[in-house]
Symmetry: C2
Subunit: 149 residues, 2 copies
């Protein structure tokens, strides 16, 4: 239950690859495709949306690719997922773009889903690409984790 579609998963992993090169240059779709094993065409779709949302910039021509528009510490997982998957909406009655059910006021379940959604969102907005980068360093060096993950 509560699955995340591959769109969001790939998106986060793609952004992670771009973040990796932050300050060092661009990251091409081809590189991401190879490192993360996702098709070039599909990544194009995803990065395009992330660009239009202002999370990355693209540079054309040889030596081109994608770059973050802000530091990894300023990009949360929530930012990425909201662009690709829309807002957290456990139930359709929590979806701002859908029309609510008429039972709204007396619905106990609604409170439950609302509360869960808020907790999820809080978590996703707390974790940044910077933290993923540090986490990876720790994994590779075998260091004990202290972070929020």
């Amino acid at each position: 239950m509560l699955k995340l579609s591959t769109k969001g998963q790939y998106g986060v992993r793609a952004m992670f690859e771009v973040a990796r090169n932050y300050g060092k240059g661009t990251t091409t779709i081809k590189e991401i495709s190879e490192r993360q094993d996702v098709s070039v065409s599909y990544l194009e779709q995803l990065l395009n949306r992330l660009r239009r949302a202002g999370l990355v910039d693209s540079v054309k021509g040889p030596g081109g690719g994608y770059v973050l528009t802000r530091e990894p510490a300023q990009v949360t997982i929530g930012d990425i997922l909201r662009v690709l998957e829309g807002p957290v909406a456990i139930t359709s009655c929590m979806d701002p773009s859908a029309d609510g059910c008429e039972r709204v006021d007396s619905c106990v379940a609604r409170l439950l889903w609302k509360s869960l959604g808020e907790r999820i969102e809080k978590f996703l907005d707390q974790i940044t690409l910077q933290e993923l980068l540090e986490e990876e360093k720790n994994i590779l060096s075998g260091t004990l984790r202290i972070g929020r993950l």
Copy 2:
């Protein structure tokens, strides 16, 4: 993103109706159907699975219906959802029934999804039907909430 299918939503609402009558008698599918506006046939499917999982007992014949097998305070939302929707598995690599990806050890994203899943599960296992019942009382009486929702 992170939607819960109607199966789980209806299931929780159905169990809530059964919990409402706890200690007072059985609850028929027809009653649930009318109060929660879900088709009889669909509810049959859901309650059947909840029965086979041991969360409710069924009584056939006139005056029959469903009853909780334990007190509302002993049934968590997580219990219900796991029966109807399977375990929390944000990504397929977190699904115990699927085979993991080969990248397991070095995958940073994996830690992220694992951590999120654990938090969600903790929350769902913390909220019981009893709490929903109390919550409803509060809503109806206009009382200020103090609970975990």
